[in-house]
């Protein structure tokens, strides 16, 4: 069963509703400090209250950027990379380069930055992580060109991340490839404390925004550690967050307990760490490894991500709706390396730097919203023909039952089962609701048994035409396909000349003709043949009526009455109603009664003396008079007296002369052609091809070669899919199209190896010309096999088919004694 989750969501802006949350979550943990921190936060709010405005804009950098960071007042941004280290001012409509920090003729590796951070308390203070393992601080207040302030070279490998403490001015944290995190006190020359990650490379370090002493570190082996800055000996807590490296982590700006992590395993996870065990509360699956993750200010559930490889876009997700990004920025031409929200309290602007050497400011209003383009409905077939349909709940409930009915009732063989997916809690929260309906297929009815059986049992050649038709009609009938059966019978009638028809029916016990005729009309009417169908109808009618009129046979009469209830009602309805009755009305009824009726049909058929036909047909001319009257008779019998007699007269008056002149077979060709086309288009190419073969020259000229070829190839293809090799071969053989015929001529070579020396046999017969021994010796009787030779493909021993079959009854090992457990398929 296909489960299709299609989330739709009223993108309700989540306001700053979390103050309550905080109150409820309130921990008594370091109360005074927290108060202090919150005060600080409020102070920054106040500072940043001057409104930020701007537009989506970008500027070219000289080199790829590795990281960016903004100044506290959101007016400047620093861009750092291997060959770039610059400060840009953010103006209304453009970036303006303010300062190039990369000075000197041949800048040392200390300028090659993996990461950069602008202090959030001190506007003049910057820190960078250098690829050579140095941690550098820069003081913009310095009068000289070189603003480098302090240099710490304590790490042995590349430093991946630097992070200032959010409230403490002099505290700087770094995480390095060598597996150590170091906390520097900027007033001292050197690290205050070192934290060891047990020789695993550190990818990211982040001070908690709310808890003074806590910081999180993410590692290359998939772990995340939480440390207390006062206890460098051992981490407070550790949990495995991802499979593979965790490239980034970010604390929620408002909710103390939330930490977002992104990893190489293409996932962003949100952890609640207030509980004893870190609990994964949200998970977003992206399409590429996650390089950076940043919570969106003022939106509790939003975060932005960018990827490290392949995917160049920046996504903003609502974590409650992880299947589709809330917004996307698609400006960059190469991977985005750094993202940062412009201001701590403004969700409207995002800055990003990229490997394509551009720096962008994205205005949130300009983002593209994938949800708008997403298809609100999904439809999928299951392995066994089940159908699943998911759609917005509003769409479905709006339509109501009438909307759904077509899906359920469309196929008469499908029994719909409706159920609504029990709404997930998180989904509900995010106003995502969709309904999923699964329509199960009844296995029995969708089986192609009838196809296989029909293919096996149909006779396509080797007997007189009439007999073939009769046989096939019988096959179809037994498989409960009355329409096809009737078609066969009709074909026989149409194309047999009266004389041969007699003999033909005489031989076969196809005494069911009147019965068939009674169906005839239903079928044709259902088949929707055009005006020509009427002719047949009329003809059928006359014929049937003629049987009624036939006085010579009392036996017949008895039986006839038996089916008259069926027979006369049918034609009456169809003829006089003069409307195309839909299949639905007709067939369900038939299907229901099918089993019950079958018994009734068969008995009279068997008992039915064929002489009826014999008498009927040769004497056609004499009966003509009766036939003119026949409508009256039938009118009497059926209750349809009131029906317009004119119409029936007209019909008969047409059919009459036609019948009289022994209708040439070619007369029916257009009808039959249409019939074939109808079958082929309705998906029953089997019927089309079978009729084509059986009719042979009678119809071949009518259907153009290409169509024929097309039918043949599709039928052969179908047969081969059902592994009906013999039938398919027969069809190929019987086809008259040269393109089909030659299918049999291809790949008829069978390469065999000598069972003695295992070399390929040349075509010299039974003797291998390399080892001069008889190659095809039966492993059981040790005689040369001529004729049917079967052998194991594993050990190439074998022999006479029957010998091997006998042998395998008693043993599963190779009769040659090679020890192989032979397998024959």
């Amino acid at each position: 069963m296909v489960k299709l989750l299609l989330a739709h969501q009223k993108a309700k802006a989540v306001g700053p509703q979390d103050s309550e949350d905080q109150a409820t979550r309130g921990h008594s943990y370091q109360c005074s400090l927290q108060q202090k921190m919150e005060k600080m936060a409020r102070v920054t709010t106040a500072l940043g209250s001057n409104t930020i405005s701007g537009c989506t804009m970008f500027c070219h950098l000289d080199a790829p950027a590795n990281a960016i960071s903004v100044c506290r007042d959101a007016a400047q941004v620093v861009v750092a990379g291997r060959n770039i280290f610059k400060i840009y001012a953010l103006e209304e409509e453009q970036f303006v380069e303010k300062l190039n920090l990369r000075v000197g003729r041949k800048p040392s590796l200390n300028f090659s930055c993996a990461d950069v951070m602008w202090h959030q308390m001190d506007e003049n203070l910057l820190a960078t992580a250098a690829t050579n393992g140095a941690v550098v601080t820069w003081n913009l207040g310095k009068p000289s060109r070189n603003k480098q302030d302090q240099l710490f070279t304590e790490h042995k490998r590349t430093v991946n991340k630097v992070c200032f403490h959010p409230t403490e001015v002099y505290m700087l944290l770094s995480g390095s490839q060598d597996g150590y995190m170091k906390c520097f006190d900027l007033r001292k020359k050197g690290s205050a404390s070192t934290f060891s990650g047990q020789s695993e490379s550190v990818r990211d370090v982040q001070f908690s925004i709310r808890d003074y002493f806590t910081f999180a570190a993410s590692f290359e082996n998939g772990n995340v550690q939480l440390w207390d800055i006062r206890r460098p000996d051992r981490y407070e807590r550790m949990f495995t967050a991802h499979n593979g490296p965790v490239f980034c982590c970010d604390w929620h700006p408002e909710d103390r307990g939330w930490l977002a992590t992104g990893g190489r395993d293409k996932m962003v996870k949100v952890w609640d760490i207030t509980t004893n065990r870190a609990k994964e509360i949200h998970c977003v699956q992206t399409i590429a490894s996650v390089a950076r993750v940043k919570w969106r200010p003022e939106r509790k559930y939003h975060l932005a991500t960018c990827s490290m490889m392949v995917d160049h876009n920046i996504y903003v997700w609502d974590v409650r709706r992880p299947f589709i990004p809330f917004a996307t920025f698609e400006e960059h031409k190469d991977v985005t390396t750094g993202i940062v929200w412009r201001h701590l309290h403004d969700p409207g602007f995002l800055l990003s730097g990229s490997k394509d050497s551009t720096l962008y400011q994205h205005k949130f209003k300009d983002a593209s919203r994938p949800v708008d383009k997403a298809n609100p409905e999904g439809l999928c077939f299951g392995l066994f023909g089940d159908l699943a349909f998911a759609a917005k709940e509003s769409l479905i409930s709006g339509g109501g039952d009438s909307n759904r009915k077509p899906y359920g009732g469309g196929g008469d063989r499908r029994y719909p089962i409706f159920f609504f997916k029990k709404p997930d809690l998180t989904e509900q929260f995010a106003h995502v609701s969709s309904a999923l309906s699964v329509f199960e297929t009844d296995l029995e009815s969708s089986r192609m048994d009838w196809f296989v059986k029909t293919a096996r049992r149909y006779l396509l050649s080797g007997k007189p035409f009439g007999e073939l038709c009769d046989h096939n009609a019988k096959v179809a009938k037994e498989l409960n396909r009355p329409q096809v059966a009737t078609t066969w019978t009709m074909l026989r009638i149409m194309y047999s000349d009266p004389g041969s028809l007699t003999t033909a029916t005489g031989i076969s016990k196809g005494g069911s003709i009147p019965l068939m005729n009674s169906f005839n009309m239903k079928e044709i009417a259902a088949g929707g043949l055009g005006s020509e169908g009427r002719l047949d109808r009329a003809k059928g009618e006359t014929r049937q009526d003629s049987t009624h009129l036939d006085p010579g046979n009392s036996l017949l009469n008895n039986n006839d009455e038996n089916e008259e209830t069926e027979g006369s009602e049918g034609p009456a309805d169809y003829l006089f109603g003069d409307a195309e009755l839909e299949d639905d009305d007709l067939y369900p009824m038939e299907n229901e009664n099918a089993t019950a009726e079958e018994a009734e049909y068969i008995l009279p058929q068997e008992a039915f003396p064929l002489r009826h036909e014999i008498m009927d047909n040769p004497s056609v001319p004499e009966h003509l008079q009766d036939k003119v009257d026949s409508p009256h008779v039938s009118g009497n019998e059926a209750e349809t007296v009131c029906l317009t007699p004119i119409k029936s007269f007209s019909l008969i008056s047409i059919s009459q002369p036609l019948y009289e002149s022994h209708l040439p077979a070619s007369f029916f060709s257009p009808v039959v052609r249409e019939m074939l086309q109808h079958y082929a288009e309705a998906g029953d190419v089997q019927m089309a091809v079978s009729v084509l073969i059986v009719l042979g020259d009678r119809i071949r000229k009518e259907v153009d070669e290409v169509t024929q070829e097309h039918w043949y190839t599709s039928y052969i293809d179908l047969l081969q899919r059902f592994k009906l090799w013999n039938v398919s071969n027969e069809v190929i053989k019987l086809s008259t199209s040269s393109a089909i015929n030659c299918l049999n001529q291809t790949s008829t070579t069978l390469h065999i190896n000598c069972s003695n020396c295992k070399r390929p046999m040349s075509n010299k017969g039974w003797i291998c010309d390399r080892c001069h021994q008889c190659a095809s010796i039966c492993a059981v009787c040790h005689h040369v096999v001529k004729g049917l030779f079967v052998w194991c493909q594993g050990c190439s021993h074998g022999g006479h088919l029957e010998h091997i079959m006998n042998w395998l009854k008693s043993s599963s090992h190779c009769p040659a004694g090679c020890g192989h457990l032979c397998e024959y398929t």
Partner: protein, 538 residues
């Protein structure tokens, strides 16, 4: 030429159940004896050696060769013993039996030492049994790698996935690419091994006549193969574009990744093969001989590599100054740990210095004809990175690393392989027993890193955070010569070179070094190829 075509009766030997092993052994011995008796003692004369050139699973000689192989290499003692006794019986009948040529799995390492491993180490034994059950053989490479079971497991898993499991390339193509790659280094061992496998999975023998015989598509790969093998830093976006451009014989991205992984795998495996002096398989050409010992004692591969007779004496001549060599090395490591110097310009110096290390004797040995037909442009070889006149920008490891970038790309296009390779690289990089020669509890991370970075340095990959001065301190000249030869032109390795570096270290440690060389080389090649592909994709 096929190893086990139609030879169903050998399959039972891989079973873990001793009963079924016994049963199929019984079958085999009956069959062999039956044939041996048929031939009888008459065929003692000229006929035998002639027949040995025609190989087929039913050929008695082929069977005998296989029995010989089993008697030496089968991980099950019962099979080994039984094979020996069958061979003995055959000899008693009067039919000539083959004997092994060469010197065990490796020409450099005494056979005893290698085979001892599985007897001591249960894990190794288990891996050997698994491999034997899967492949019906235990190749010499696996035997030598058996010194390091942890690595071997990962190696075999990766190789199995690359060759047998789901992947965009068809099976025979995979083996053919393996042949192409190994032929680039004239590694007849790998070529022979994969020619057999190639035919076994239904490859067209016409392809084996040379690259011209292969489909256009594979011919296009020739250029990439050549560059990757010898000067990977020259691979550009344009090469990738050339292969991927939409036309009849073009590659898909997924196929290309698969091919690139295979190429780099076999380039580096060729390094290992030569570096450890892997000898031909016993049951393959050149692995056994039917002539009695006195007639001649030659081996095609030995001749091709210019070391006909093993000179055991040579290795011992300087044992006197051995111990102090190890101590000196350890002393240096300790010193380096204590004082950190600035390292900004060291890379440049090391780069130029690595050029001065000549890779073995420069005379061009003519590759054996048999192998050379699988590749073209035989003159193309390793050229030192950053010669004057050519300005190839240095590859910065921080800008494109395996962990961050390469892995994601591979895993995206060829699922699971990124993971497998990642594990393999990590195992190799972190593998240590904390021993050095006779000393215990030594932190070898510095030495391992020096070797790894030295190899990457030869390919122009630079780590900003590495002091390349360490390399000069830790790796002495003969070791550098060995490394450079193995990595850049492995076909020129001789036993003398193998013996002359780190003379007092154990063989297992030298194999460990070879693993490092092999994986570092593979990663370097992969990084260049993947960077080019990433460049193409963006």
């Amino acid at each position: 030429m096929d190893v086990s075509e139609g030879a169903g009766m050998w399959d039972g030997l891989g079973s873990r159940d001793i009963r079924s092993r016994e049963m199929s052994m019984e079958n085999i011995s009956q069959e062999v004896l039956r044939r041996a008796e048929k031939i009888g003692p008459i065929s003692k004369d000229v006929l035998q050696p002639l027949r040995s050139s025609v190989r087929s699973p039913d050929d008695l000689n082929w069977m005998l060769a296989r029995l010989l192989m089993l008697s030496r290499r089968c991980p099950y003692a019962d099979v080994r013993d039984k094979c020996l006794s069958v061979l003995q019986n055959v000899q008693d009948i009067g039919v000539q039996i083959p004997r092994t040529l060469g010197h065990g799995p490796s020409r450099f390492i005494p056979e005893k030492e290698i085979l001892q491993v599985s007897k001591v180490n249960d894990k190794t034994q288990a891996i050997f049994e698994d491999t034997f059950a899967a492949l019906g053989r235990l190749d010499n490479i696996s035997l030598v790698m058996g010194f390091h079971p942890q690595y071997l497991e990962s190696f075999l898993r990766t190789q199995h996935y690359l060759l047998q499991m789901d992947g965009p390339l068809s099976l025979h193509c995979r083996h053919y690419i393996g042949i192409m790659a190994a032929a680039r280094h004239q590694c007849s061992y790998l070529v022979n091994l994969h020619v057999n496998d190639f035919l076994q999975v239904g490859g067209d023998s016409k392809w084996l006549n040379g690259l011209e015989g292969a489909p256009q598509k594979l011919q296009h790969l020739g250029e990439l193969n050549k560059i990757l093998a010898h000067r990977p830093w020259l691979v550009t976006k344009a090469h990738i574009k050339q292969l991927l451009k939409a036309e009849e014989h073009s590659w898909s991205l997924a196929e290309l990744i698969h091919a690139v992984v295979l190429l780099t795998h076999y380039h580096s495996l060729a390094s290992f093969t030569f570096g450890c002096g892997i000898s031909p398989e016993i049951h393959c050409d050149g692995g056994h001989i039917f002539q009695p010992p006195s007639v001649s004692n030659y081996c095609a591969c030995d001749i091709a590599n210019g070391n006909g007779t093993p000179d055991e004496i040579q290795g011992k001549h300087a044992l006197t100054d051995a111990p102090c060599e190890v101590e000196a090395l350890m002393e240096k490591m300790k010193l380096l740990q204590e004082c950190q110097e600035e390292m900004a310009t060291r890379f440049e110096r090391e780069k130029t210095e690595s050029m001065l290390v000549a890779a073995a004797e420069e005379e061009d040995s003519v590759p054996t004809r048999d192998v050379s037909r699988h590749f073209e442009d035989t003159s193309y070889g390793y050229k030192d990175f950053s010669r004057r006149g050519e300005h190839v920008p240095t590859f910065r490891a921080q800008d494109y690393s395996w962990e961050d970038h390469g892995y994601s790309l591979v895993n995206r296009l060829y699922p699971d392989v990124g993971q497998l390779l990642d594990e393999k690289f990590q195992i190799t990089y972190n593998l240590t027993y904390n021993t050095m020669a006779m000393h215990q509890d030594v932190d070898t991370s510095m030495l391992r890193r020096a070797i790894w970075n030295y190899i990457h340095c030869m390919f122009g990959i630079r780590y900003d955070d590495y002091d390349y001065g360490e390399i000069n301190q830790l790796l002495d000249r003969s070791f550098k010569v060995y490394i450079k030869t193995v990595v850049c032109s492995p076909e020129k390795i001789t036993k003398r070179m193998y013996d002359s570096f780190w003379r007092e270290f154990k063989h297992s440690e030298k194999v460990h070094v070879n693993l490092l060389l092999m994986e570092a080389r593979m990663q370097a090649e992969l990084l260049y190829a993947l960077r080019a592909i990433t460049g193409y994709m963006t």
